[in-house]
Amino acid sequence: MKSLWIFPGQGYQHANMLTHVDSSLLHYVENLLEIHLNDNVQDYLDYVKLQVSISLLQVDQVDKLIAKGFYPQLVAGHSLGIFAAAYACGSLDKENLFKLVKLRAQLMQNAYPYEYGMGIVTGLTLNQLEFLVSQVNHSSMPVYVSNQNTPDQIALSGKLTAIRKVLVLAKKSGASKTLVLKVPVPSHSPLMKPIAHSLCEKLDKINIRTPNCVYLINSSGYSTRKPEFIKKDLSESLIYPVYFNSMISIATDFKPDTIINFPPGSPFRKILSQQFSEQHQIYLDQHIFDDSLFLLNKWKRGLYK
């Protein structure tokens, strides 16, 4: 079995998502970070609790799969998901992972209290959108092209007024859908440089090990087996767009036969089903763990194609 493990970021969290998380892991994290996780909607309005909970959920699933003898051949995280990805490939240990995630969340929470955020444009090409952004972007009106999840679905990051201007232009240029995301931070743009800087300082003190498998890099869309690139991605990915589209294209060249989608949610279902129509795919969020194991074991045995 040659599997690609995909770790989404925030956006699909839901109350009670930690119900089946191993309780000793939960307590470990709560003690380590000195926070209490309630796993409810209220909690998830708080950046720190939200991001820590998502990472906790992903780490729990990674641990459980590895305990059953499943290892990734490729890992791909999206934004926050890169921390669990780095953990899954053996580059980042648990303690540092949670400390980093907490720090990242704190920094993000305090960076831009208002006026900033993200938007999404569907139906324009990158070139078209870059042109529109260049017409609006200005030191007082910062806006940047951000995450690229599919060839025709691209995010914007920056000041909300500037984003709205681009969205209007986009609609005029034939975009099929435009919307402002409910995210209060201009993630994955140069506006995040100060945060990246702090993360970088912290990561410099951490030993990032050589991964056991291929790591797909958020901030370049390329693949690597070198720890220095992973370290750079963990510290700097917030400054760059997530080139998820490219990560997935590169992943196809590695010819995985099984795609394991980690919780929460299934944000990339459409693009993944197009890209990997012939591979086995599983969304851990949709099955109880024993069912997931049943399927993975069946696919491993290769009982059918």
């Binding site: 569907t122 139906g123 034939g174 975009a175 099929s176 859908k177």
Partner: protein, 99 residues
């Protein structure tokens, strides 16, 4: 989903009702009814948003070549311009066959 409306000046009144196609994935249906105007109307419901100018181009090119006059209703479930053109041309062929 998006609703579109177009009007084209046309010169060849049709006398028959015509229906072609299915609202299947990547396909569409066209319903053509005769009218007494000197133009054609098109009421389109399309599942793919943001393609108004493409529709306009497809229709202009079609009516430029085959100026059929009537009221068109189109229900589109994501057809490519090629498929749209095929179905429009099939309407033309149905009319031709019946002549």
């Amino acid at each position: 989903m998006e609703k579109l409306y177009f009007k084209f000046t046309t010169t060849q009144p049709v006398t028959k009702f015509v229906h072609v196609g299915v609202v299947a994935s990547g396909d569409l249906e066209i319903i053509l009814r005769p009218n007494n105007h000197s133009y054609s109307t098109l009421n389109i419901i399309t599942g793919s948003d943001g393609f108004k100018s493409t529709w306009s181009n497809v229709l202009s090119r079609f009516f430029d070549r085959y100026p059929l006059q009537g009221d068109f209703e189109i229900n589109d479930f994501g057809a490519t311009p090629g498929v749209v053109n095929l179905r429009l041309s099939q309407v033309m062929e149905v009319l031709k066959n019946e002549q």
